[in-house]
Amino acid sequence: MGGKTDVWQGTLALMTLKTLETMGPQHGYGLARRIEQTSGDQLQLNYGTLYPALLKLEQEGYIRSRWGTSENNRRAKFYELTKAGERQVKKAAAEWEQATEILARFLTPAEEA
């Protein structure tokens, strides 16, 4: 349980929520691919950890799931944002931006010098 995993947990959740916000309802596989695409294929997700993360978000009430039919007519589980999830995206995004901004202030002067 290093700090690294924790950061990943947090960012994965935010990425998931943000993707759902822009894309609307998605199934797990589609969501994973979309996240990878958005990252410009810089990220390679461990799909095995995606599902527990989705479950956690669902348990916390940020997303909900229902069974539906996929684009190629398979039964698939779709995830979508709840009201609380929408609020959480804004909150977490703001927090994250602030955090990166602070960190950036530490990093930029070093470049200037």
Binding site: Y47, P52, E60, K77
Partner: protein, 898 residues
């Protein structure tokens, strides 16, 4: 919030494990299928694409496991598995489990019962709205009620309270209507009473402020259920109380008996109207007639400290006590110049200390019992743990961590503890019911019912878990001990020479020491009971029947009362089985002070306060078997004739220094009495009453006076009525029915109460010593039994563990006698250490307990000498049986046994 939600969801997931599993399998299936399709599209073969998909997933089984861990609560799951395993284990050792659960159950049961009393008398708030802001106000440290004028002045001046209300705690009335007339007790309250205490009526409403003088009544729920069959339309109907009609306006909730939680009232009427029910209802004009119990609700935002400060100021401004007594009755005015208060519904400060001591002593005893039970069970579990070393070693070898094994053992012992807790609560339910069924020997109704409530259940639960954990410590320690190699070979790693049974020895010593303390306590209480039972009350109880009526409840005038009582007496005396029938207002051993107390003046000098003022009719002493030592009995005294009195021997000793008092005059309640006789001593108030100073007056000369004036120290309605004492040749029980018929022949509406034989009455009068001795005795007996069983168990187990060692010793030539002595010596050393520890502890505790003992020294030499000897003897026997067994061990067999 989110976290809590997540936990609840996971708990839900845990309960529906199957469904979620299938769900996720389908989702995973879809994921792999999609991924495989994408792979094929990018030019891979089907197999390769599927393989890649599974790799990226990090393995299907791993994914499933990660998902499962998130979906449910893994720790709960493993805890449940531990629980399951524990249950199986406990079920397998059925005998040991039963003994353990029974031991702990007895311990917890005793504790829960005593704690029920603590909860009832110390912790339970009054069943009123916001009890913490409701204060009971008194005058002085003694907790004296208010008088009506003081109450009014106080209400007009105070600023700390949002409401002040008063009540007269006990008012007796005869309830008519369907069925035989019945005497019921109620309270007279100010019209705002229910509003101030914020009591919500079960039905109907409370009194309006305009109803201070109206004939309206609030019924208690129990009276309403019992007497009116829970009539749903009771509100608005009228009931007959002592011949007067009252309109029912409401029904008070079941839990509400009285705001002080001590009296047991069944109805409430407005104060202004109460005079109808009690002709001698206390005066509302007399400033020093203290009878109004007062409660007040703190204004929001006002603290108790602020209220106390205001009360202090107010007390200075209000004349709380008269400088001089009005009619020769001196009112002690010391320490009555201030207000005191406590939260309404808590015990009055005077009783508090006594109750606290009593309950503390009991709590100590029951905690000791529980401790002994725990020590017992710990020993048992420890023995099992030693037996199970091999199992533990195997599990360790298979990869279980020691922590995991320890948790398993703790779960097991906590299960035992909880099992004991359940049994204990059941036992305690039964015990509290029996306790509540006991009757107090007082003619006024006290609310003494003890019952289980949530506080008791919580306490029992905490105790169960705590004792479970405590029990588990030793086995858990043992579980983590095994040296793998030795244990797997079947060697006892805990029984290495040099540190043999250290822990168990400590347990045994603790057990015996606690038993010494317990047994000493029981001994002292049994002795105390014996003493109380053998105390000479001063009367001959055989063949006496008691039966009470209160003509004042029926608005009899004094003349009519006298005529009524005389007629009954004549009718009774005419019955063939009856020798004699007399009246008194106060039977011996009646805790409450009948005619109140007064100071007796002789030659203008005060001779002290005499609380036992008894009113009797001629023939009283002969009927009750009290010898008249000097002078004569009452004869044909008349209300207008010169007043006469008979005094007790102790009275003479105190007031006259033993000189002949016949013909002397004394003043009581402002009247001069000529002493015409001296009677032998009788215990009037309690079995612990050693003053014996009684002052007997003739009924014919007192009834008039008592009713004509309301005497501050005399309140007949509080005690209520007169008791007929009938002496019969045969069984007094047989006369009861004909006695009832005689009374009802004269007045069919007269309520008859407290009918019992004098022997029954005396039995119930020994309530407190009996209660104390029963409680202590039962608890102590349980503890002793547990300790003995434990001691025997430990010693015999010790021998069985040493079978091989003894075998070797005997093979080497030790004689059976030597072996026996070896075992005995070991037990004896433990016993001696324990007695040396327990004895001083018992000595200290007995000082605490001495406040409840009648007539014996707290350090009763006999008890303190016998108990250690007795326990040592028992311990010796407990050691001797296994020692005998050890001596008969066949060395060959013993060596082959392991």
């Amino acid at each position: 919030m989110r976290k809590l939600r997540a936990i609840l969801m996971r708990l839900f997931g845990f309960l529906h494990a199957r469904r979620g599993e299938d769900d996720f399998a389908a989702e995973l299936e879809f994921h792999v299928a999609m991924h495989t399709e994408d792979g094929i599209r990018s030019g891979l073969s089907l197999e390769e694409a599927r393989r890649q998909a599974l790799i990226r997933l990090g393995g299907a089984e791993q994914a499933r496991q990660a998902y499962r861990d998130r979906r449910t609560l893994p720790w709960l799951e493993s805890l449940l598995r531990d629980l399951q395993y524990s249950m199986r284990k406990l079920a397998k050792h059925r005998g040991a489990t039963a003994v353990a659960v029974l031991s702990i159950g007895l311990g917890i049961g005793a504790n829960a019962t005593i704690f029920s009393m603590v909860s009832r008398f110390v912790l339970r708030p009054a069943p009123v709205g916001d009890p913490s802001a409701l204060l009971a106000l008194h005058i002085g440290e003694g907790g004296m009620p208010f008088s009506w004028p003081i109450y009014n002045d106080f209400r007009a001046q105070e600023k700390s309270f949002s409401g002040v209300a008063g009540y007269y705690p006990l008012l007796s009335a005869s309830l008519g209507g369907n069925g035989e007339p019945e005497r019921v007790w109620g309270q007279a309250v100010t019209a705002n009473f229910f509003d101030v205490i914020e009591l919500r009526m079960m039905r109907g409403r409370s009194f309006f402020s305009s109803e201070e003088n109206e004939p309206v009544i609030v019924l208690g729920a129990r009276l309403w259920q019992r007497r009116f069959n829970s009539d749903p339309a009771i509100v608005g109907k009228t009931v007959t109380l002592s011949g007067h009609l009252f309109t029912v306006v409401g029904v008070a909730p079941v839990a509400f008996h009285s705001v002080d939680q001590l009296y047991d009232a069944q109805f409430w009427v407005p104060l202004g109207d109460a005079g109808q029910l009690a002709p001698n209802f206390p005066s509302q004009s007399d400033r020093i007639n203290y009878w109004l119990f007062t409660v007040a609700r703190l204004r929001p935002g006002v603290t108790r400290t602020q209220a106390a400060a205001e009360l202090e100021v107010l007390a200075k401004g209000l004349a709380l006590t008269a400088p001089e007594a009005s009619d020769g009755v001196s009112v002690v005015s010391k320490d009555r110049t201030s207000f005191t208060f406590e939260q309404a519904g808590t015990l009055p400060s005077g009783v508090q200390r006594m109750a606290a001591l009593f309950l503390t002593a009991l709590s100590v005893v029951v905690l000791l019992v529980l401790a002994i039970a725990c020590a017992n069970v710990a020993n048992l579990l420890f023995a099992q743990a030693v037996e199970r070393q091999r199992e533990m070693a195997v599990r360790l070898a298979l990869g279980a961590t020691r922590g995991r094994l320890q948790r398993q053992m703790l779960v097991e012992s906590v299960v035992l503890g909880l099992g004991g807790g359940v049994l204990g609560v059941l036992l305690s339910l039964w015990a509290t019911r029996s306790l509540s069924a006991l009757q107090l020997p007082i003619p006024v109704p006290f609310d003494f019912a003890v019952e289980m409530d949530w506080r008791v259940l919580l306490y029992a639960f905490v105790l169960s878990v705590a004792s479970g954990l405590l029990l588990g410590v030793a086995p858990a320690w043992a579980a983590a001990q095994p040296r793998l190699a030795n244990s797997l070979k079947g060697e006892d790693a805990l029984a290495r020479p040099g540190r043999r049974f250290i822990l168990r020895n400590i347990l045994v010593v603790a057990q015996i020491a606690m038993s010494v303390v317990l047994l000493t306590m029981i001994g002292l209480f049994v002795r105390s009971l014996q003493n109380a039972a053998s105390i000479d009350i001063g009367i001959r109880p055989q063949g006496l029947l008691l039966m009470s009526v209160n003509p004042q409840d029926h608005s009899y005038t004094p003349e009519r009362t006298i005529a009524f009582l005389t007629q009954i007496q004549q009718r009774m005396a005419a019955l063939p089985q009856v020798d004699a029938a007399v009246w008194t207002d106060r039977t011996p051993l009646s805790l409450a002070s009948g005619s109140g107390s007064a100071s007796i003046h002789l030659d203008g000098q005060e001779k002290g306060t005499f609380s036992n003022i008894v009113t009797v009719t001629p023939g009283y002493f002969q009927t009750l078997g009290v010898p008249l030592i000097a002078g004569r009995d009452f004869g044909n005294e008349t209300a207008s004739g010169p007043r006469t009195a008979i005094v007790s021997r102790a009275f003479v000793d105190r007031a006259f220094g033993g000189k002949n008092p016949i013909g002397q005059h004394v003043t009581c309640h402002g009247d001069s009495y000529e002493i015409i006789g001296v009677a032998d001593n009788v215990k009037q108030s309690t079995e612990g009453d050693y003053s014996y100073r009684s002052f007997y007056r003739s009924l014919a000369q007192t009834i008039h006076r008592d009713s004509a004036q309301s005497d501050p120290s005399k309140n007949n309605s509080l005690i209520g009525g007169y008791t007929l004492v009938v002496h019969t040749k045969g069984n007094p029980q047989a006369v009861m029915d004909s006695a009832r018929r005689q009374i009802h022949a004269l007045d069919p509406s007269m309520a008859i109460f407290d009918e019992k034989t004098m022997e029954e009455y005396i039995h119930s009068a020994f309530f407190f010593p009996r209660l104390a001795a029963t409680l202590f005795g039962v608890c102590g007996g349980i503890g002793l039994l547990l300790a003995l069983v434990g001691l025997y168990g430990v010693m015999s187990y010790a021998v069985s563990r040493r079978t091989r060692e003894i075998g070797i010793r005997m093979a080497m030539g030790a004689q059976p006698g030597t072996v026996e002595r070896l075992i005995l010596r070991q037990g004896l050393v433990l016993t001696l250490i324990a007695v040396a520890l327990g004895w001083p502890a018992a000595w200290m505790l007995s000082i605490l307990a001495s406040s409840f003992l009648y007539g014996i020294q707290p350090h009763d030499a006999l008890i303190f000498a016998v108990v250690p000897l007795f326990l040592s003897a028992i311990a010796l026997v407990a050691c001797w049986i296994p020692a005998r067994r050890a001596a008969t061990i066949d060395p060959m067999k013993a060596l082959r046994s392991e």
